[in-house]
Amino acid sequence: MSDEQQKDERAERAEAAQAQPSGEAPPAQAEERVVAPLPQRGPAGEEIRVVTPGQRRGINRRELLKLLPVVAIGAFAIPKLQEPLLKEGLRFSDWASEKLFSEHRLAQTYSNNQVAPFEKFPYNYYDVLDPDVDLGKWTLTVEGLVKHPGDYKLSQIQAFPKVVQNTRHVCVEGWDVIGNFGGTRASDFLRAVGADLSAKYLEVTCVDEYYESIDMATVLQPQTLFCYEMYGQPLDRGHGAPLRLQMPTKLGYKQAKYLDTIRVTNVLSHGQRGYWEDQGYDWYGGL
């Protein structure tokens, strides 16, 4: 409240006090009020009241009740409710992330001198670094909502225009590294095999039994690659030879290595959203 407003109010009250003696009110009372005017407002404009202890208890009780919505947050402290509540929180977070994502917005790309040396690109794996893929016999199995399912050789995947990009690989742990990746656009390959691009998900399983599922919008983002090269060399065994996912708009744990099968689907296999996701990481994992 401004000073002017306060002045106005004081003036009004003074008028009221002056008006009283002319009426029926006993003069003694009016005098007492003039001697001890209680400010109606504090320095910040807050309301001031004189109340009986009973009135005060009533006020406090009402105000406490109004704060009940805040107490609801305590549900997170109840062990039984904690897990489902956090799951909902994560789902909301994923929902918001998905809304934020645009297929047409590209992740930043970097110049060659910003790329980390190959030796500084960490090998990350969940079970074994080299699951002993028989590179000679390897094929990619394509299943689900596609017109031409079947086993595809690496050379068939490499027949598409090669995309080479310097992008940031971000690990959920908090580190990141800019690398050089080459491969086939996932969207090019999926169109060629007649995939239903209006399907919701792409599920992948790997030779090392890792598994992942990715929203179709991200799969169709033009920087999403079936990656077979790093730093101009065929993908080495530790980095997922012969074929891995490479998506600069997803966290590292979504970038499945040693691909074995891809499946276009509208329904995720129950409890098979992704190796880490099934243990508690968020499914969307988008950047």
Binding site: L38, R49, V51, L85, A107, A116, W175, L287
Partner: protein, 235 residues
């Protein structure tokens, strides 16, 4: 100003109360207080997964490693669930407070401005070095304004840096004024340190100002406010 008055009438037993904290402010305060603690504790657990501000190879750990006992979530995935759930409550209650202050004009009472700078030291001397209490004729003294305004600053900083870390591909343009993507993580940590510095000071002040003051952040009404003469103990 002749505001001297008898606020506690011995015969009728009445007390003077003043409405110090509107409901919106109280709700925002308590939601934010809970969310802040969750964000700090789960954030430290997330930091433990890679306690460094450098590259992965070679990894050089930060000189302070948070003790796991002070963290929340148990492991990286669990901590991220807490962090990604409570970040909405943290930011939501913060936005609620700021918008409310803007709409009501109350921000004028609490926003620290350059003209408040000269009043900070006398107030700090009073609180920490037992100096004389400077006369204060406003709702909040300069030191309070500095403290409360700094929480808004750290709140905004933690939110913006958090957005860059959460969605760097979408908010890459936001990373630029921070000094690049890697600085987002550093500034995010700095904003946490800012909150960690604020909390003990805030709690000490609350303890020093007694129950009536603390209770007013719950019910809104403060019994015997200190600016009314004869209204109980003054601080």
């Amino acid at each position: 100003m002749a505001t001297a008055t008898v606020t506690r009438d011995k015969q009728t037993g009445t007390v003077t109360v003043s409405y110090e904290h509107p409901l919106v402010v109280r709700i925002a305060h308590w939601l934010n207080a809970v969310a802040l603690l969750v964000m700090i504790a789960s954030g430290l657990r997330i930091f433990l997964a890679f306690p460094s501000f450098g590259p992965k190879l070679p990894q050089q750990n930060f000189f302070i490693i948070p003790p796991p006992g002070l963290t929340l979530g148990g492991w990286l995935g669990g901590a991220l669930q807490w962090h990604f759930t409570f970040m909405w409550i943290f930011v939501g209650s913060g936005v609620l407070y700021v918008v409310y202050q803007l709409v009501t004009g109350h921000w004028r009472q609490v926003l620290f401005l350059p003209r408040d700078i000269k009043g900070v030291w006398p107030m700090a001397r009073h609180y920490f070095l037992f100096g004389k209490k400077p006369p204060v004729d406003a709702a909040y003294n300069p030191l309070q304004k500095l403290a409360y305004t700094s929480t808004i600053f750290f709140g905004v900083l933690s939110t913006l840096t958090g957005m860059v870390m959460f969605k760097p591909a979408q908010f890459w343009w936001l990373a630029w004024p921070m000094g690049g993507y890697h600085y987002a993580r550093i500034w995010h940590f700095v904003s946490m340190c800012g909150f960690v510095a604020f909390i003990p000071g805030h709690l000490i002040m609350v303890a020093l100002h007694g129950w009536n003051n603390f209770y007013s952040m719950i019910t809104g009404w403060k019994r015997e406010p200190e600016y009314i003469e004869g209204s109980g103990d003054r601080d």
